[in-house]
Amino acid sequence: MALTGTKICAVCGKKLPKLMHLRLPDAYICMDCAEKAAEMLHTGYDAIGCMCLSEIRPLFERAAVRGGREDASGVFHNADQLRIIYPLIRTLREEPGEYGYKVEYIDPLDSLSDAELQAAPALAAKRREELEAKYGIHKAVFEVDRITKLYNESRGRRYYHNEYLISGRVLMGNIVLRDQAVVKRAEGTKELLIRKLGDCTEYRSDLKELKEGMEGGLFVESALSFVYPGDILCID
């Protein structure tokens, strides 16, 4: 099959880049989709290149409904609404080859029984009420785990800049870019502007949103020494 025919990705339907694409025996897909397929199958691009479109497409269909689970009575439970009690658990998996380990998430919803799944929405609502009673009503509540000062490393020397990564977990609500976080101290409240959002490592800072229950990092561009591990940041 020649690329001159259809110039769209067979999976996502977007325009196919000239170079960043992968040829399957019966179709072309963009590298983004190839990467996602490789992630889902825990394999490399070579193995994906040997697979037919009919083998890859079901993976994406399953991934699209992964944001939840159906119980025995056929009721669909949205995962985003249950993450307040069943957050994704970050772990590492052994990666064959030179990479060593790669981040993997365990979804507790996968191991729930039907009875537990049916009881989950009520538990989530109860937990939300408990958190609101404890911390007040806010757009989001974030629990701080650790604070890291960021630096660039060049020729064995670290060059620090006035940027900090506050890593932790979103206990309630969603956090988006440029939200204002407030921390309460005995002598008054202190405000922080969230410049970027990322995962728990300092390598990724391109997330647009941190959803409820997610572990992630808030990037703050100011001198920061008044936030401590265990602090609660209220976002309004």
Partner: protein, 189 residues
């Protein structure tokens, strides 16, 4: 499809996170385990102390290991109020380090002497290039931290780290006419 093999050694009894060997975790008195995130939060209440045996091997004395799960859970809830008490005690400085011993070295040709202050972070955290104040016998001097090292058996190890509340470390700074001795405080605002 390749079988996924994840490396966690169980889950934290307090927060439910995966216990990862590379991040570290602690076993409590009753056999339960807690993750490094929970340990980091209560470390300020239960400071780690290090001693060395005759051969120079490091011996850790970690009071968290002597807690039960219930006690650790209570400590986790009280960690921030405890930090607030410490802040009130130390004039609301954002981070405080107490010097237990100090060594001064020559800084080289035309360079000021370098001071290695070994001690413990009482609360807060110190990073490289932080601007701090050295409080020595009622006098305050502004200094910039050039490095922070973990305290090793002989002097300080060569890997820079973050000085975190409750952990021993060595703060390195230099400056003319500076004096530092045991009992001095280094504070960050």
């Amino acid at each position: 499809m390749a079988r996924v093999k994840t490396i966690e050694k169980g889950f934290c009894f307090l927060c439910g996170r995966a216990l990862l060997p590379n991040e570290g975790y602690l076993s409590l008195r009753d056999g339960s385990h807690i993750c490094s995130h929970c340990t980091g939060k209560i470390r300020v209440m239960y400071p780690l102390s290090l001693t060395w045996d005759k051969k120079g091997n490091e011996v850790r004395h970690d009071p968290i290991e002597g807690l039960s799960l219930e006690e650790a859970g209570r400590a986790l809830e009280n960690a921030i109020p405890y930090t607030e008490e410490l802040r009130a005690k130390y004039d609301h400085h954002n981070a405080v380090f107490v010097v237990e011993s100090a060594v001064t070295e020559k800084g080289g040709f035309m360079k000021p002497p370098v001071i290695y202050a070994c001690g413990r972070v009482i609360y807060g955290y110190f990073d490289q290039e932080d601007k701090v104040r050295l409080l020595h016998r009622g006098n305050a001097s502004d200094v910039t931290l050039t490095s922070i090292f973990k305290v090793a058996s002989y002097g300080a190890s060569s890997y820079p780290c973050q000085g975190i509340g409750g952990k021993p470390c060595a703060l390195v700074f230099s400056g003319k006419n500076l004096a530092c001795e045991a009992g001095d405080l280094i504070v960050k605002d």
